[in-house]
Each structure stands twice: as structure tokens, then as C-alpha cells.
């Protein structure tokens, strides 16, 4: 019988094998132990003196050095976010005997806000014993108050620090956001050692989105301190103490790396003009360069002072801002959702032309209201009016709802919805600072996804009619309105809106500009369709019955525009909307979207003014002022109309 195939265990052979393995393992164990002991001898015997000196009596402390935060410029090099010196009260936990008592005493001197007591206590405790934690900002008088009582507060100190300063205040708040004190939540998302000396972090907008570019990197220097925390030796200050420096070998101080500066697409001249044009009203305006997607202005009113956040906003002030009925903290431009009203008509007209749903020259009669054949429900002309005989061109120029009711029905909801989605409605535009809402383009499919009950999922023809004039379920953000307007201006070639256009290296001062990106173009409409819609929109601002003729009277450039009215309040079937009867906050929102010059577009704008009545009266004049500011800044002289 051939031996090797047998499966019988050979116990002796196995035991020998196993024993040899155990012995080998034992040898490895001994070798590794020898390695460990050698290492311990090196540490504890050979280098004993050095380590003993490091720990004995003198302790050494690493003092982190904050990097200077990068500046933010507008496209013309104007500083929008700067750094200015400021006095700060700081605490070093390991040197404070009783944190609670110390905070109490500081509160009595009105140097620390009592309402922040527990927040500050937790913040100090969450840091390493030797880290400096900012307690509050001090005015010059407060700094003096503390300076004479300093001896009573071991572990508390004043330091000068750079804080963020926004020279344009309210006007830039929603576009670039702000920095604030690092909260416990922020600590979760950052590399803590890199922020060891930093007290502020981007909380909103550009400041938050580009935190990593702006922040830079922490530096440190080593100090020898005694048991009371007094600095005995600082190698960056006293270079004479060579013998002390010997103990420290190996660790050097490192200068912080300044954050890089960033260049935004904003043009502060346009931004300020928009802020001023909106004035005290609630509203938003976004202006985009359609050729690149550069956001030239991004304004939301009412606004707030970002400097109050940068220097540490008090709890009471924050609560006041947060509970204000006008919601100054809400960025209406990015996250305000409004029905687009008639501003959608050019897009729907374009889709209708593309699908040949209607003969643009055919005249329909507008009696001021519309019934679906066989139904009694009245679909009325927006806020009243009788347009008589209208074709597609005059329906856009005069904003005839009855025409578009019938057009939407003729097209069907899918063509309407797809025509709108092609321009970016219903999805975030991809603005580089995030924080946008997606909006809604309603369709039967959308209803199915968003309503649970079967009876709620049914799509009614009336909903197609409402969508045809931008009412009903449809919601857009002002940013979306501007972005799709820019895409329309460029005949379907869109760019994701962007705020960051370049980064300036803090050291070399060399600016690296990013190339704009391009979206897949809107396919389908023929050149004559684009021309038709542009001409109709130019008609809005120039023809006798155009809805925005009054607001655009005397312009030196050619504007393509469209007014819109977003209804907040639904009037009963047999009633008439009378502005004076309706509560102010239920009045209509006014829209105006435009691009100019109509033949070679360089700016696309969307503006909304809340509760101010129709767009022709409220938003169009705002856009006019911004356009004037833009073309004045550009030195643009148009041929006489």
C-alpha cells in the first residue's frame, strides 16, 4: 500500500512539528523582549539626563500660534473681508483653580456674558489643559478694567488677536457669510490640532465653504514654564539660553502658514446698488454673468451685520435676529422658495415652439377668464384685465394668463415640466457655496413621489393650467431664476453659478483663476425659436403694451425681461383681488427677470420683492437700478434706440 495517501494522523511527527514551532515562538518572544528592553534602556538609562531635565522642575509648553485668515476680495480687488486687531480675554484651564468661581468673578466685572456661563465652562473643559480658550472680546475700557485686576485671575489673560472685519457690513452678509467662535459642533468637523490657536471659524456662506483655503495652518513655539505657568524660556525670544535649549532638542518652533486669499466673482458696485435698490423691502436679487456663471451680486434683504458675529454676538442679540418676523438671517436668494408666476412664460413658450404645440401667429381671444370646456371653475387673468385678441408674442409682452392656460393644456404637463427642468428649475443650481433649496417643478410623477395617499396623487388638468403661469405647486429660488435666465440669455449654454473665481497665494501674491465650467446645453429649440422668445422679452420692456415699459423707460441698452406676480393669497371664485383689503404679508410678491444687452448678454438678473404687488411695479424698478449701475460701471454706451 502506498503510504503517503493515508489520512491517519502521525502523532509523533505532529508533536515534533508543534514542539519546534513552540520553541521557535519562544525564541521570537525572547528576541522581541530583548528589543523592548533595549529601547527602555536607551530611554531610561542612556537618555535619562535629557528626559529628566525636561520633566524636572521646568516643564515645557507648546504655545500654538494662530495663522492669519485669508482675505476675501471682490472681482475688482476690493476687500470684502479683512482682519483687524482686537482684545480678547483668554483662559488656560490648567492654571485656573476653580473655573466656576473665576467665571463668576469675571461676570461681576462685566467682562464675560453671564448667559454664556455654562457654554464657556464646557468649552474650556473640552480643551487640553494648556490650550488658551477665548472667553470674550473686550473693549479698550474693559481691557483696562481687567489689566489692573489681573493678579486676581491666575490663568486668565488678555491677548491681542486679529478678528474678521467686513467693511461692507449688511450688504455683503448673505453673499459671503461670516465667521464666529468655534463651537463644540465645529470641533467635530475640523482637525483640532490645526485650530489649537484659532478662535474663529467660517459659519456661513463663502467663509464656511472655503474655510480650508482661508484658514491656513497653525504654527507653534516652545516655551519652558515653571509650575505656576510662568514662561521661563521662550526660544523665539531669548536665544542666549543655549544650555536650556539643549534639553529641548528635536522640537523646533514653526511659523504659522497664513491662509490664502480668495477672489470672488462679486462686483461690489453691483452688490451695493442692488442692496440700495431693494432698500427696506423684503426681497432678493441675484445677478449673474451669463457668459461664465460668475455671480455678480447676491443680495437678500433684510440683512444683518456680520461683524456682530465676528466679534462674538450676545445671546440676546442673536435671539432678536432669530425671532425677527422679517427673518434677516434667512438667505432669501438661495433658500427662499417662491412661485415664479409669469416669469416662466418665456421658457414655456420656447418649449411650445420647439414641440410645435401652437402656431405662434394664431390669435386667441382673452375675455379675462377661462373655463375648461364643460367645467364651471373660473381660471382668471392673474389680477384682472382683458387682453382681447392675443398671439404668442403679445401673450408674453402683455403677460396674458388666459393664452398660457390654453397653451399649457395644449402642450400637456410633461412638455411644460420638461421645458422648465431643462433650464435648471427643480434642482439646485450647483452654486459653489451650497445652502440652496432645490425648488419644485410639479408633474404627475412628482405628485406620485410626494403624496402618500392615492387620491392625492391624481394629476388634474387644472394643475397643468396653474403650472402654465407659474402658480400652484411650482417653487423657485431667486438664484434659480437668475441662473435659468442666464442660460436663456446664452441660448441654452449654461454655467453653474459660482462665487469663487480665483485664489491668491498669501506668500507669492500670485492669483490662480479657475476656468468657468459649462453645463450640458439645452437641446431642441431652433435658432428662430430662441429669436422669437428674445424678441418677445425685448417687447416686454419696449413695446407699447409691454408690462415693464414704464420701469425701463429711457434705457441706453436693450433689455430682454419678464415680469411676474407670485400669488400668496387665493381670492375666492367670485371675488376680486383688491390690494388694500389684503393683509400686507398676504399681498402678492413681485418678480422681474431680465438679461441685457439683449443681443450680446453680459448680465442676467432675477429680483423678487415680497408683498409689494406685481413685478412691474416692485421688482422691475429694482432691476432697472442695478442694470444702470452695471452699465455705468462698465462704461457702456448703447446705440440710441
Amino acid at each position: 500500500m502506498a503510504g503517503p495517501s493515508t489520512q491517519i494522523k502521525d502523532h509523533w511527527q505532529e508533536q515534533r512539528l508543534f514542539l519546534s514551532r513552540v520553541i521557535a515562538a519562544g525564541v521570537v518572544v525572547l528576541l522581541l523582549t530583548a528589543l523592548l528592553v533595549t529601547r527602555l534602556v536607551v530611554l531610561q538609562v542612556v537618555n535619562y539626563e535629557r528626559f529628566a531635565e525636561l520633566s524636572r522642575g521646568n516643564r515645557f509648553r507648546i504655545e500654538p500660534q494662530p495663522p492669519t485668515r485669508g482675505l476675501i476680495f471682490d472681482r475688482n480687488g476690493l476687500v470684502i473681508a479683512d482682519n483687524t486687531p482686537n482684545w480678547e480675554l483668554v483662559a488656560v484651564a490648567e492654571e485656573i483653580e476653580s473655573l466656576d468661581a473665576t467665571l463668576k468673578a469675571l461676570e461681576q466685572l462685566e467682562l464675560v456674558d453671564p448667559s454664556e456661563h455654562t457654554v464657556l465652562r464646557d468649552l474650556v473643559r473640552s480643551h487640553r489643559g494648556f490650550e488658551r480658550v477665548k472667553l470674550s472680546n473686550l473693549t479698550e475700557a474693559q481691557a483696562a478694567t481687567f489689566a489692573v485686576r489681573r493678579h486676581r485671575f491666575p490663568g486668565v489673560d488678555i491677548q491681542e488677536a486679529l478678528v474678521r472685519y467686513y467693511p461692507f457690513g449688511e450688504a455683503s452678509a448673505h453673499a459671503i457669510g461670516y465667521v464666529g467662535s468655534i463651537s463644540l459642533a465645529d470641533l467635530e468637523r475640523i482637525d483640532r490640532s490645526d485650530y489649537a490657536a484659532t478662535s474663529q471659524i467660517g459659519k456661513q456662506g463663502v467663509e464656511r465653504a472655503y474655510e480650508t483655503i482661508l484658514h491656513g495652518h497653525v504654527g507653534y513655539r516652545q516655551q519652558v514654564v515653571n509650575a505656576q505657568g510662568r514662561v521661563l524660556f521662550d526660544p523665539t525670544v531669548d536665544s542666549h539660553a543655549d544650555n536650556v535649549a539643549n534639553f529641548i532638542g528635536g522640537i523646533e518652533s514653526k511659523a504659522p502658514v497664513q491662509g490664502n486669499n480668495i477672489v470672488l466673482s462679486l462686483d461690489m458696485r453691483i452688490q451695493l446698488a442692488a442692496q440700495e435698490a431693494l432698500g427696506d423691502s423684503r426681497g432678493a436679487l441675484v445677478a449673474i454673468d451669463p457668459r461664465t456663471g460668475d455671480v455678480l451680486a447676491l443680495v437678500s434683504t433684510p440683512s444683518f451685520d456680520p461683524n456682530s458675529f465676528a466679534t462674538g454676538i450676545s445671546r440676546a442679540d442673536y435671539v432678536a435676529l432669530n425671532t425677527d418676523l422679517d427673518k434677516p438671517l434667512l438667505n432669501r436668494a438661495l433658500s427662499g422658495l417662491y412661485p415664479p408666476g409669469s416669469t416662466v412664460k418665456p421658457y414655456i413658450a420656447l418649449a411650445a415652439l420647439q414641440h410645435e404645440s401652437i402656431d405662434p401667429a394664431r390669435e386667441l381671444y382673452c375675455p379675462g377668464e377661462y373655463h375648461i370646456p364643460g367645467q364651471t371653475h373660473k381660471y382668471r387673468e392673474g389680477r384682472g384685465g382683458v387682453h382681447g385678441s392675443t398671439n404668442l408674442h403679445t401673450a408674453i409682452v402683455r403677460s396674458c394668463d388666459v393664452y398660457f392656460y390654453q397653451l399649457a393644456l395644449a402642450m400637456g404637463i410633461d412638455d411644460v415640466a420638461n421645458g422648465l427642468k431643462a433650464f435648471g428649475f427643480g434642482a439646485p443650481t450647483g452654486l459653489d457655496i451650497g445652502g440652496e433649496k432645490a425648488g419644485i417643478v410639479p408633474s404627475p410623477e412628482w405628485k406620485k413621489r410626494n403624496y402618500a395617499r392615492r387620491e392625492d396623487q391624481i394629476w388634474f388638468p387644472g394643475e397643468t393650467i396653474n403650472t402654465g403661469v407659474g402658480q400652484g405647486y411650482m417653487l423657485v429660488t431667486p438664484l434659480q431664476a437668475a441662473h435659468s435666465e442666464a442660460t436663456l440669455a446664452m441660448r441654452g449654454v449654461g454655467h453653474p453659478p459660482r462665487l469663487l473665481i480665483g485664489v491668491e497665494d498669501a506668500v507669492t501674491r500670485k492669483v490662480t483663476y479657475n476656468e468657468p465650467t459649462t453645463l450640458p446645453p439645452v437641446e431642441g429649440p431652433a435658432p428662430e425659436h430662441w429669436d422669437f422668445v428674445r424678441d418677445a422679452m425685448v417687447g416686454v420692456t419696449s413695446e407699447a403694451h409691454g408690462t415693464a415699459v414704464a420701469a425701463m423707460k429711457g434705457v441706453t441698452y436693450k433689455v430682454a425681461g419678464k415680469t411676474g406676480t407670485a400669488q400668496v393669497f387665493t381670492v375666492g371664485q367670485d371675488e376680486k383681488y383688491r390690494e388694500a383689503d389684503v393683509d400686507e404679508r398676504l399681498r402678492d410678491h413681485g418678480w422681474f427677470v431680465a438679461y441685457a444687452p439683449a443681443d450680446a448678454p453680459r448680465i442676467a438678473i432675477a429680483a423678487i420683492v415680497e408683498n409689494a404687488g406685481g413685478g412691474a411695479r416692485s421688482a422691475a424698478p429694482v432691476v432697472r437700478k442695478v442694470l444702470d449701475a452695471y452699465f455705468k460701471a462698465e462704461g457702456y454706451v448703447a446705440r440710441e434706440p
Binding site: L17, L32, T33, L43, V45, A52, R59, I62, S193
Partner: protein, 376 residues
């Protein structure tokens, strides 16, 4: 006299049994464990800031460990072997439960809450994985064939993978170490070992790609602790200062400035080796190391004397895994190895690993105490 009846083993294989009860008690093992834990308590008391209450809690954990030790000492290895697959697959099931619960809680999940006690199922695997490997080889010829090796590797990697995605890379590595050492003592051929070693080295760049940033940082910092004195390098620097300033004889009990002035992080858990080095010096550490070596030696002795494949492999693997813990922790604290969250066995504060370790030693005691006396 009754003490005399506690027989000390001779090479021929004495049995340590109390004559009046038939209980298995491995006296050398127990004595070494008590010495190490006793020494650990002394250091821990200092590391905990002379807080007797906290030390008491560690005492309770050790008491729980002792119970596990004694109970498992009495279970004949035959039953250990029979129960092995049950324990292994139950452990796997619990890991899956924890994973699913973690998914629901949208976050890493390691703990299983039974209401009265919380424990980490991954801890079971530290014992169940080597047991399962030993179980698998029990009826098979040593050395293992290539196919058998693949199966054993899977037995180790499946639970390790589940643990790694918790994510608890430290424990996953320990499970791999325990299972891997079992495979090694099973007589894996040198050629395969070398092949795997070379493949492993080649795979390192791949591992690097899959590592989290914080894990890469640890490696960087290990290579050059001074590069990040504010972050992870801080721990290494402070631990080295603590060890180095302890010198030959140490600063004395409760006198470690690094530990007591809170310069040393994690002093009662992962870095307790540094506290001991600071207060008791090189001599203190050598005493601890000698005790550890004796314990490992006793374990290997038990493995050498074991009478069947299962017990042999299990005893060998348990002993070597124990040494692995010691070396990884001491190596990390003294700067030989990068920082990984492995406690110093039997000394660091913390409950779960104490019970697991003592259970492992209980099995060792059982393996030795239940040998058959007749010659093969």
C-alpha cells in the same frame, strides 16, 4: 497539611487538584496572574490620581475575571472544543446584530446593550477566532494543506472584517493576530509564511489607500513625532519623557510628575506602562516584563504538554496572543510602534479585556488540569 496537597507539577505531568473538591487550579498560572494584577493595582492607584473608589471598580472587574478563570478551568477541553463552533457562530451573529443596529443608529456601533450589561461582541472573537481555527484543525493532519490554510484564513478574516468596519481597527488587528498565531503554531509551512509576508508587503500601498486620514497621520507621527507636537505626536513625546525621566529606579510611587501634572494622556488606560516606568524606573518595568515572560512561558509549557491538536493549538495561540498584546502596548508607549489603542493586558483600567484575558487563562488551566495521565 492541606497546602502540601496542592501538588506542584513535574515534567511528567502532575495534576493540580484540590483533593477535597476535585477542582482544577493551576497554581503557577494563578500565582503569576495575581502578581501581575497586584503590581498593576499599585500602579493604577497612582495613575487614577490615588482614587480608591476608581481602583475598587477595577477590583470588581478583576473579580469578574477571576470567576471566568475558575469556571473555565473546570470545563474539560473536550467540551470547550464541542462548544467552539457554537460560540464562534453566536459571536458572528452578534457582530451582525451590532452592525445592523449601527446602520439604524447611523453611526459606528460596537456595544451590545443587554439591559443589565453592555459588552462588545468583538471581544468574544478574540477567543472564538483562535478556538475555531484550532477546532478546524483538530481532526486533520498537521501541517495544514494549502486549502485548509485558506479555510483557516477565512475563519479569521470574516469576523475581523466585520469588526474592522465598526470601525474598530485595533480589535480587528488583535483578532487577526490571535487567529494568525494559531495558524502559525499549527505548522504552516515556512514557504507559505514567506509568500504571505512578501504579498503583505506588496499590499501595504493598497492598505494605505484605504486608510482614514487620521490613521495615516498616526503613521506619519510615529515616524516623526516632533512633526505634530500638538496632535497625536503629543502622546508619544510625553510618554517618552515620562519613561526617560523615570531612569533606573523611578521617581517613586505617586511621585510621577508627568502623570500627576496631567502631561501624560490616557494614563490609566493605554499609557499606564509609561506611568509605571516613570514611578518605578527600569527596574520596575523589568520586574513586570519578567512576570509577563513567566506567564507566557507557562502558557507555552502547557501548550507543549497538551495532548491533542485542539488544546495544543489553543494553548499556543492564547499564550502568544497574550505576548503580542504586551509587546504592542509596550512598544507603542516606548515609541517602537505607532499608536494603536491596545491596553496593557491585566494592568490597564477597563473591564471587557480583563474578563476576556482571564477567560483565556482559565482555558489554559483547564487544558493542563485535564490531561490524561497515561503515556500515549
Amino acid at each position: 497539611m492541606s497546602l502540601a496537597s496542592l501538588e506542584w507539577g513535574s515534567v511528567g505531568g502532575g495534576r493540580r487538584r484540590l483533593p477535597f473538591s476535585g477542582l482544577v487550579i493551576d497554581v503557577p498560572l494563578l500565582a503569576l496572574l495575581l502578581m501581575i494584577v497586584g503590581l498593576g493595582f499599585v500602579v493604577l492607584y497612582s495613575a487614577l490620581g490615588a482614587d480608591a473608589g476608581l481602583l475598587m471598580r477595577q477590583g470588581l472587574r478583576f473579580a469578574a475575571g477571576l470567576v471566568a478563570f475558575f469556571v473555565l478551568s473546570q470545563v474539560p477541553p473536550r467540551y470547550l472544543r464541542i462548544f467552539t463552533p457554537w460560540v464562534f457562530f453566536a459571536g458572528l451573529g452578534l457582530l451582525l446584530v451590532v452592525m445592523v443596529e449601527g446602520e439604524i443608529a447611523k453611526g459606528g456601533q460596537r456595544w451590545l446593550d443587554l439591559g443589565f450589561v453592555r459588552f462588545q461582541p468583538s471581544e468574544i472573537m478574540k477567543l472564538a477566532a483562535p478556538m475555531m481555527v484550532a477546532w478546524f484543525m483538530h481532526d486533520r493532519r498537521l501541517p495544514p494543506t494549502f486549502l485548509q490554510t485558506i479555510v483557516m484564513v477565512l475563519i479569521v478574516l470574516v469576523p475581523a472584517g466585520l469588526i474592522a468596519q465598526q470601525p474598530d481597527l485595533g480589535t480587528a488587528l488583535l483578532v487577526i493576530a490571535a487567529g494568525g498565531l494559531t495558524i502559525l503554531v499549527a505548522g504552516l509551512s515556512i514557504r507559505i509564511m514567506l509568500t504571505v509576508g512578501v504579498l503583505g508587503l506588496c499590499a501595504l500601498p493598497l492598505v494605505w489607500m484605504f486608510m482614514h486620514d487620521y490613521q495615516r497621520n498616526r503613521i506619519f507621527t510615529f515616524l516623526n513625532p516632533e512633526s505634530d507636537p500638538l496632535g497625536t505626536g503629543y502622546n508619544t513625546i510625553q510618554a517618552e519623557i515620562a519613561l526617560g525621566s523615570g531612569g533606573m529606579f523611578g521617581k517613586g510611587w505617586l511621585n510621577g510628575t508627568q502623570a500627576h501634572l496631567e502631561f501624560l494622556p490616557e494614563r490609566s488606560t493605554d499609557f499606564i506602562f509609561a506611568v509605571m516606568g516613570e514611578e518605578f524606573g527600569l527596574l520596575g518595568l523589568l520586574l513586570l516584563i519578567v512576570l509577563y515572560l513567566a506567564l507566557v512561558g507557562r502558557g507555552l509549557w502547557i501548550a507543549a504538554e497538551a495532548q491533542d491538536t485542539f488544546t495544543r493549538l489553543l494553548a499556543g495561540a492564547l499564550s502568544l496572543t497574550f505576548f503580542f498584546y504586551v509587546f504592542v502596548n509596550a512598544g507603542m508607549v516606548s515609541g517602537l510602534l505607532p499608536i494603536v489603542g491596545v491596553p496593557l493586558p491585566l494592568v490597564s483600567a477597563g473591564g471587557t479585556s480583563m474578563v476576556t484575558l482571564m477567560a483565556g487563562f482559565g482555558m489554559l488551566a483547564s487544558i493542563h488540569g485535564h490531561r490524561k495521565l497515561m503515556a500515549p
